[in-house]
Symmetry: none
Subunit: 216 residues, 4 copies
DNA sequence: GATGAATGAGATTTCATTCAT
DNA sequence: AATGAATGAAATCTCATTCAT
């Protein structure tokens, strides 16, 4: 999913570009694709309606650009984790990943919600392309962590890596959802605000994988 | 979240009511709340626009009614599972639940997507109420299964029930998502179409819980 | 070119329908298809913008309806001429036709200009269909007059009917254009306002055909 | 209708000027004045929008320039015919004229369509001026041919020159329209593609004039 | 109780034009 | 002399909602 066009946009001063994308992100992630309003965006930005259309051509174009950029940020974030944490054991890797994810979502809660939008809205153009790109990246990242763990002897042969990746992805994703979506833990008090309990979650998760996922 | 309004609606013949709610469900779950169009709904139904507004008052009213009814169906479905499967062991319960969930989603894929809509769309009226109701019901249902399992001695003391419920909920929900949302397994081939592999997933899941989730 | 849809429109009171079509005709014939403005039309009519779109769906739909109706009127007009003037000689027929045409254009100058619009505007939807329908009708009508004239012995064998029809059509059409388009006679004073000179034109035209058009 | 503005334009290299006017001609003649888009023109040209406005000031200015230039070309074309064909008889003159016209339209079909645009579009600025200039030139040209013919004794006294000019103009114009506008002969097969039949048409036309147009 | 005509605000998008660089 | 970013009015069209019949 390459960055689509928006030539005009690239010539703008960095600061202005940033402001535009932030406001657009907010709009899309709060109201969904259909609910988002170009009028509202330009109103908040204080720029002319025509300008936004010169930058991105269509509402679709704007959305795709915003989402592509969000995806790039996620990838950068994960790449960062890997670069800074080579040769550690699995639980440490996962810990860093989850921590990075949680930190990212706290910092860019809207980008995460953009992803959630994609899951259900059939009217979003190129939805399938975007979603597939994202899912593949996520699962492959986790699977690569598991493969390294196996090479280090952390995971027994009976552990099915694909299944394990799926489960880790599911739990971590739900964990992260709980940071971005209110009521996701339905008031059970599972998460305290300060991230202190992440250690416990990670430990559980790795134990689960190591002991509980058998090959088919 | 009580059912409001819709007095006029209830007097309609059952068949007509069914058709209206089905079409409205389709519209909302495919296009999201904002993207859904009353015009499109009455167009597909072949009834007058005024009628729909007499039944439900507003677009909000229609959405709330549709969603409430969907929630009722989910509850009925789960109640059914419990009634038909008392006194079994945990893995059997979870198995039945997951099977029922998968069956339900195959039969009513749109209702499930209505739930996904809720997760992100801030513009949906009473979103928080609806979401909270749903999450609570889901987590409490699983927690009650776990409590029964502990009473039967299936779960050691060191297992934290809330955490376990959360993880089960996460994995099951992601599993179900993969039935309703294309590309959710990103082509890893985790699921075959005929549900046959559910047994394996459940076994893994219970093992994980029994061995891997420690009290904080 | 059948009348396209516009179901909603047909239920309106006759008087209102008339007013709408008149105003729309004016707009299109004065400004062309692209230049015509829905805003301007509803502004002049004093009705809501949404109403016009409920009647005709799109700008295209409105244009096609207006044009189709204009074509029907032209056909009715010519049918009328034929019905009232059977068994006469050619010059009398042509005279009646031209008179009817001139009368029609004086009464509905805008409809005639709608036809002229078609000639050049590639962006008008279904332009070719509409134009072909109109041209065929016109040429066939004149040709049928010539065939009858030949049967009555008014036209010698050497007269090529297709060529003659084309020439008559050309001159009559240009004659009629001069009624609708200012400056068409470039100030040569060929036409006095009161139609009195039509007799002379017709006489010339028939003489031309009878004496001057040879078979290829 | 003097050429206004365009000082900056004249300093451009000949090749560039040509390209700009060609593209502008295409746009106007295909879409009409209102439908034509400056955006589309500069897009096709690959030049900056601001440049076009520096050359011609406004859309009106561009159109007037394009049209004036087209008119000059038509005049040049006819002047050429006269210069190369002095002292011939009427039918020969008309033949050359028609041939030149047909050749011109085949080579510059868009310029001809520009003229047709003028006939109906009230929103074109200075429409009347332009149209009058064109019509006068055409009718006067033909009339001058007829006057020369009379001096040579080709036309009897009873032939009304204005009427004759009008008829010739009408038939020739329609004949030329059939080259530029599809369906103008409505499938009657009156014209073969290679211009070979022009001889026949001219012969008919002159005969018609000589025998059939009487003074009022 | 059902209808569907009427509404006007608001949606996305295109337009000709200006002007600082 | 050329550029293209900025503009805001106006374009077409859709929307949820009202209400008289």
């Amino acid at each position: 999913m390459p960055l689509i066009a928006a030539e005009r946009f690239h010539n703008l001063p960095e600061e202005k570009k940033e402001r535009i994308l932030t406001v657009a992100s907010e709009e899309f992630s709060q109201k969904g694709y259909a609910g988002a309003s170009i009028n509202s965006i330009v109103g908040r930005l204080g720029i002319a309606k025509g300008s936004l259309f010169q930058y991105f051509g269509t509402k679709d174009g704007l959305f795709r650009f915003v989402f592509s950029r969000a995806l790039e940020r996620v990838k950068d974030n994960l790449r960062n984790v890997r670069d800074n944490a080579r040769r550690k054991e699995l639980s440490s890797h996962l810990h860093d990943t989850l921590l990075a994810g949680a930190w990212f979502i706290r910092k860019h809660p809207l980008l995460y919600r953009l992803y959630l939008q994609l899951l259900t809205d059939d009217t979003i153009p190129f939805r399938n392309d975007m979603l597939l790109a994202l899912r593949q990246y996520s699962l492959e990242y986790i699977r690569s962590l598991l493969e390294e763990a196996r090479e280090r002897g952390e995971l027994a042969d009976h552990v099915d890596l694909n299944r394990a990746a799926f489960m880790i992805d599911a739990v971590m994703d739900r964990f992260l959802q709980a940071q971005a979506v209110p009521y996701m833990d339905a008031g059970l008090g599972l998460f305290d605000g300060d991230m202190a309990s992440i250690q416990g979650w990670i430990k559980d998760l790795v134990q689960m994988i190591q002991k509980g996922v058998e090959k088919v």
